[in-house]
C-alpha cells in the first residue's frame, strides 16, 4: 500500500496497479461460466454417463422443484443458521481471546503454543464427538462451526495487535488516554483489517463445519440433503446441495466485501 501512495496513478502498470473496466471483467467472468457449464451440459450424457456427474439442466430443474415444495428453504435455512450463528460466536470469541491474550503479558507465552497445537488438530474429526455431546440438533452443528472458525479469528486478532503502530499507542499515552480510549480509537480500528480478513477466510470454514456436522448426523440442512441423496444414489441431488452451498458462500463473501468497503473507506 505504501507503493500505491508514492507512485499514484503515474505508473499504473506496476504490480497490482492495473485497472480494468468493469465491463471487461464481468464479460470475461460470464464467458468463463458459460463455457464451463456449457461443456458440462454438452459432455454429460455424450462423453460420459450423466448418472455420475449429473447435468446443469438437471440441477437447475431440481432447484426449481425444491423451491416449489419448500425443501430448498427448509434445508438452506438450517445450514445458514448454523453457519452464521457459529461464525458470529466463533469470530467474537476468537477475536476477544486474541485481544485478551495479546495484552496478557507472560500469560500469552504460556497459552500460545497450546492454541497452535489445538489449531493443528483436524477439527473435522470432532464432528462425531460434538454430536455425542450436544445431540443431533443444531447446537452440535453450531459448536462444530465455532471450532472451525475460532482459531483463525484468534490468530488474526492476535497478529493484528502485534502489528499496531507503536507510535500511535505512545501518542495516546502522552495524551493520557484511558484504556477504553485506546481500545476504541487505536486497537479496534487497527485490527479491523485483520478481523475482516478472518471473516472472509472463515465463511468457507463455517460452511465446511456446518455441512460436515450435518453429514455425520442430522435430519435437516444441506449436508443432510447431500448425504440423503448419496444414499439414494441421486448424483443430481448431491450436486444440487453443492451448488447451493457455493451460492451461500458467494453471497456471504459479497456481503463482507460491502462491509469492508464501508469500514475501510479511509484508505
Amino acid at each position: 500500500m505504501a507503493a500505491k501512495s508514492k507512485n499514484g496513478a503515474a505508473r499504473a502498470s506496476s504490480f497490482r496497479e492495473r485497472r480494468y473496466s468493469n465491463t471487461s471483467v464481468w464479460t470475461g467472468r460470464i464467458v468463463v461460466f458459460v463455457l464451463l457449464v456449457g461443456l458440462w451440459e454438452l459432455l454429460s450424457g455424450r462423453a460420459f454417463n450423466s448418472f455420475w456427474l449429473s447435468k446443469p439442466s438437471l440441477i437447475a430443474g431440481r432447484i426449481g422443484e425444491m423451491l416449489g415444495d419448500g425443501d430448498l428453504w427448509f434445508h438452506m435455512s438450517a445450514t445458514l443458521q448454523e453457519a452464521i450463528g457459529g461464525l458470529a460466536i466463533g469470530m467474537i470469541g476468537g477475536t476477544l481471546l486474541g485481544i485478551a491474550l495479546a495484552f496478557s503479558g507472560i500469560f500469552e507465552k504460556w497459552i500460545y503454543p497450546y492454541m497452535m497445537a489445538l489449531y493443528s488438530l483436524p477439527r473435522v474429526s470432532l464432528a462425531p464427538l460434538f454430536i455425542v455431546w450436544f445431540g443431533i440438533g443444531q447446537s452440535s452443528k453450531i459448536m462444530m462451526v465455532v471450532a472451525m472458525v475460532i482459531f483463525v479469528a484468534f490468530y488474526n486478532a492476535f497478529e493484528g495487535i502485534r502489528n499496531i503502530d507503536k507510535d500511535l499507542m505512545d501518542m495516546m499515552d502522552t495524551y493520557k488516554a484511558k484504556w477504553t480510549h485506546k481500545l476504541r480509537w487505536v486497537v479496534l480500528p487497527s485490527i479491523t483489517v485483520w478481523i475482516l480478513t478472518s471473516v472472509r477466510l472463515n465463511i468457507g470454514m463455517a460452511l465446511i463445519g456446518s455441512v460436515i456436522a450435518e453429514l455425520v448426523g442430522s435430519n435437516r440442512g444441506l449436508g443432510y440433503y447431500i448425504s440423503y441423496s448419496s444414499n439414494m444414489l441421486d448424483t443430481t441431488g448431491i450436486f444440487t446441495g453443492l451448488v447451493l452451498i457455493m451460492v451461500i458462500a458467494v453471497v456471504l463473501e459479497q456481503l463482507v466485501l460491502l462491509l469492508e468497503r464501508w469500514l475501510l473507506k479511509y484508505r
Binding site: D170, D173, Y175, K178, W185, P189, Y266
Partner: protein, 263 residues
Amino acid sequence: MANDKQPKLSIQDLAVAYQSKGRRTVALEGVNLAVKDGEFVSVVGPSGCGKSTLLKVVAGLLQPAAGAAYIDGEPVNGVPDQVGMVFQNDALLPWKTVAQNVRLPLAIKGLPDKAQEQEADRLLKMVGLDGFAGFYPKQLSGGMRKRVALARTFAYDPDIYLMDEPFGPLDAQTRVKIGEEFLQMWDAVGKSVLFITHDIEEAIALSDRVIVMSARPGRIKAEFDVRLARPRPFYDIRFDPLFKELQKEIWAQMSDEHAGGVS
C-alpha cells in the same frame, strides 16, 4: 510565574540502558539539562546518540536506569500532565478525519462536543487547514499532515512541547515553511520546547539554546546560547553573521565527534 528560579524541566544525572538480545546498550549517560519556562531548547547530535530516548524519558514513556527528569520540581513517573509530544511520523489516526484527529486530546479530556468543535476549527484555521476538516490523513501531503499533528498538540496545550525531529521527513522547502509557521505559533503561546533534530540550521533558527550530544553513550558535549533577537525570520536569520558563527562552532563540535568515533 513566581518561581522563575526553578526550571520548568530539569534532567539530572540521567542514564538509560536498553536490554536487547542479552546485551546491555547504554543509550544515555550522565545527562544534565534544564529548560526554563518558555525557553526553546534544541538538542542536536548524530543519529543514534539517544536524542529520542531523552524525549521518551521526559514524556514518561521510558524508565531511566539512573537519575530522573523533573517537571516543576516533581520527578517524572508515568506520563506527566504537562507534556505534549510531536512525533517524527505525525502519529495521526488514519481512520479519523483531520478534525477528529485534532479533537482527540480534547475528547480524551472530556470536553463537551461543541467546545471540541470550536477549538478544532480555530486551530485548523491557525495552521492554514480550514476546509480540510473532513479529509483523511491519507489524502493530505506530508506538510499538511505535519500541520494537523501540530494543531493536535496545540489543542492539548501542554506546558512543555516535546518534539522528536518533527520536520525530519519533509522536503527542504516544506521544512522551511512549516518551521517558520511553527516559530510564529510558538511566539504566540510562549511555552517551553525541547526540540530534537539533526539539522544544525533548524536548531539555531528556532532555539534559545542548542545542546550538542555525543554518540553512544549519549552525553551532552557542548551548549550554545543563541543570542538572536526574537521574533526571528526563520529563513533570513541564516544570513546573520552571529548565526554563521554559531553554525560553524556547532558544526566543529559535531564533526569532532565523528572523528572521535572512528579512532
